[in-house]
Symmetry: C2
Subunit: 267 residues, 2 copies
């Protein structure tokens, strides 16, 4: 229901998520124009269509114009900026958020390696949200006119682009269900399950995760205040469902979380 999981799994073996500490503090902000080989990228199965001939594969690599590093706390793009490219996340973690005129803002999603951001910009040629790196990150820059050009020729790429957009629509449907009909505990449980599932699809543990965002950002995403998020974490700890040490979360009972999500309380 809240799926944001790309179709194929990445690695069979279980990795441990690295600590939050700056991974590459000295990385320059400027765009790099190093030629990229998607065929060697270990995110290949996440962000590229499957079943390509090697000739097609070669062509698709042309789509990735360059890579770009984004330091934690800085933006990949901002509301109002001209739209030129989609971005495939290689490493790092992003949030996207929209703002209303009176200054409220709403986190609309958290994105991790292998996911694509920037789709919001297509319709008006300008971005309508901010994409902020929550940790040092690197993305593949994919100019959209190149994508369109090539997807006319490579059917699998065309289909792939359509699916990525459709997946985002379906994901947002799920978030609407969450925001429109769930209570605080259900929202947080759904959030944790979704995060850990996506991390697991990337080879990380099913039971442990490191939150890359603050309580306030979680709250914004879930339509709750940070205090409510904090209290709900505490309640889950009291109930023996999870352990929390700052941003480290260990899930003791996935089933309990699932039950919380699937139980309409008081019904």
């Amino acid at each position: 229901m809240l799926d944001q999981q790309p179709a194929p799994l990445l690695c069979p073996e279980t990795k441990t998520q690295p600590a939050v500490k700056g991974a590459s503090k000295v990385a320059p902000l400027i765009a790099q124009t190093i030629k990229v080989a998607c065929s060697n990228c270990n995110l290949r199965e996440l962000c590229m269509p499957m079943g390509l001939t090697s000739a097609e594969m070669d062509r698709i690599e042309d789509v990735v114009a360059s890579r770009r590093k984004i330091k934690r706390g800085t933006t990949l793009f901002r509301n109002g900026e001209k739209f030129t490219s989609l971005y495939a996340i290689r490493t790092g973690f992003f949030k996207t958020c929209v703002a209303s005129e009176d200054g409220r803002d709403q986190v609309t999603g958290f994105q991790m390696a292998g996911e694509v951001i920037g789709l919001d910009g297509i319709v008006n040629d300008h971005h309508t949200c901010d994409a902020v790196a929550l940790e040092d990150a690197e993305v593949c820059v994919m100019p959209f006119d190149r994508i369109e050009e090539l997807s006319r020729e490579v059917n699998a790429l065309q289909r792939h682009v359509h699916k990525i957009m459709s997946r985002e629509i379906v994901r947002e449907n799920g978030v609407m269900l969450l925001l429109g009909s769930m209570r605080a505990e259900e929202r947080l449980a759904a959030f944790l399950l979704n995060l850990v599932q996506r991390l697991h699809a990337r080879g990380f543990s099913q039971h442990e995760l490191v939150l890359r965002m603050t309580r306030e950002e979680i709250g914004s995403y879930l339509g709750l205040k940070l205090e409510t998020v904090s209290r709900t974490f505490s309640k889950f700890v009291d109930d023996g469902i999870i352990e929390v040490k700052q941003r480290h979360v260990r899930i003791l009972s996935t089933d309990a979380l699932r039950e919380i999500v699937n139980t309409k309380m008081g019904g």
Copy 2:
């Protein structure tokens, strides 16, 4: 922010929305295979790319395989059904809704003439929501493989499809903002403004509208209970902002509604 308005306007003159009464009671449910001429359709500017050569126009008409009539209360497609086509609404009014395992459901959108539904089905080849006609309706059936085929050849169509999907993503971002950070009055005000704006873009009044959905459906969309919707309508009436006679709504002060949306109460 809540825009779901297709780029171009349709008719300059102002029409009056017809009453709810069944428009075409005797319409058969079966798909009709009448050849359709998009070039004559008065929704052309809403659902087709602009600036086509007449040769391209001819080709695009091939995308519309047939039309289909949907009686009020019945579904165009359902969660779980195989995805084959996108649908352009010719007449009528739809809601789309998703359901969770425990039986809750959430209205994810209301769609009117000139808008396209079915995008949710692309990613998994199956629909993930229901599309229900809230009044007798007619849609153009556009098989998706035809769309993909042709959008490889007609650049404007390719671009158009991408924009439609991106627009839906941006719309849902706006709904997330609404659900995540607005209070009841703000939500209802935003809802009314959005509806009337979209109707106006189709040549209807800026100040009058007929709701095609129940209070409960509005509530589901806005994350509120039907009683809250009803009470909020009453409050707007008391405040002299709108007049309500059942599903007839007359907006007395658009500015007041705008102010409600843009004012973070108590801040």
